[in-house]
Amino acid sequence: MSPEDFDRLQTLVATRTGNRLRRDRMNLAEHRLGPVARRAGFDSVDTMLATLWSKPVAGLAWDVIESQLNGETWFRRDREAFLTMSQELLPALSQARRGQTLRIWSAGCSTGQEAWSLAMCALDLNLDVEVVGSDLNRIALQKAHKGAYTGFEIQRGLAAGTMVRWFRPEGELWTADDTLKQVVRFERLNLLDTPSADDEAPRFDVIFCRHVLIGMEPAARALVLQGLERRLVDDGCLFLAPSENLNGESLAFRPVSGRRGLHVKSPTFLQDAA
């Protein structure tokens, strides 16, 4: 891949997803394009890119873009957040909602481990819950939807007792059981597509959007945060990764002290909106 190819790739990914590919990771970018080129029948990454630049086809462009997104995830990643959910937030929310179905969104769910982890938290407390996992990467979403993980994947973050309670061995894979599958669904969504202010879709009580903003440019982050705000109920909670600080870049959210990564809507913002 030439530096010119990388520049165009960087622009393509930034425009469509808000993610800024790092120049010092050019090798990684090229490595990730290898399987895309093979699947699309090109003899090399260079040929594929040359074709893409000369006659841009949306399908191929998205395959290329999606391959560049960092999809690393595991069960109960940053487990502090899941403890906060199980011990404090979910019990409080279920009391406040008086038996209404709780809606939780795993935004940028990649291969789904976070969505399943959230569902297990809620079901362990016998709560009525609906979990939605969304991502841009269709290959990751397929895997998430199957809910089938290798021995390595299933053990990363999941205690054995939890694993055998919620997953069934099928050959080499461990597959989410039907009780779990009934409360989780996955859909493709670009977080840059913000809903309009009068969007009627039901909002979420809790949103997990972790390790997503970190790779994004400031303008994209602002747009994503605006979308998250519009999809979250006014007394809802937003979890970013423990290392992700907004540093005042959003007026809509403020961090909750003592709970790393946890954010709620700012009271001043709510007044302004009203």
Binding site: W74, G151, F152, Q155, L158, A159, A160, G161, P169
Partner: protein, 123 residues
């Protein structure tokens, strides 16, 4: 702060060596035993904080060791993680019922062991 102790019980010298490298990286002192009987002797002298335990071993297997350990005074204190090639659900359930804190299916890697240690509260 005194460093914490992890006992690795496995009849394979190679597995012990691999596990040792991972566990030392998590900040533990490590000692090794090649079967359940050796491990019991070790625990009589000094109770470790964490025990990585293989299932099938000569002299005394892991499950027998675990039951005897849990019957010892202070034998409830170590976090015990089974580490075996057994992946059948009833085996896993049996190990947990016998007092294992968690269960690791081989093959495993450093990331898995780190996550498991975190899940049982050992790190």
């Amino acid at each position: 702060m005194s460093s914490r102790l992890c006992l690795i019980v496995d009849d394979s010298r190679i597995i012990r060596k691999v596990s040792r490298r991972i566990v030392e990286a998590l900040g533990f002192d490590v000692d090794e035993a090649a079967d359940g009987a050796e491990a019991l002797t070790f625990c009589t002298g000094a109770m470790p904080d964490v025990i990585l335990l293989d299932w099938n071993m000569p002299v005394m297997d892991g499950l027998t060791f675990l039951r005897r350990l849990r019957a010892m005074p202070d034998g409830g204190s170590p976090k015990v993680l089974f580490c075996t090639i057994e992946t059948a659900v009833d085996r896993i359930t049996e190990a947990l019922a016998a007092g294992a804190d968690d269960y690791v299916m081989k093959p495993f890697d450093g990331e898995i062991l780190h996550a498991k240690f975190a899940e049982v509260g050992a790190v």
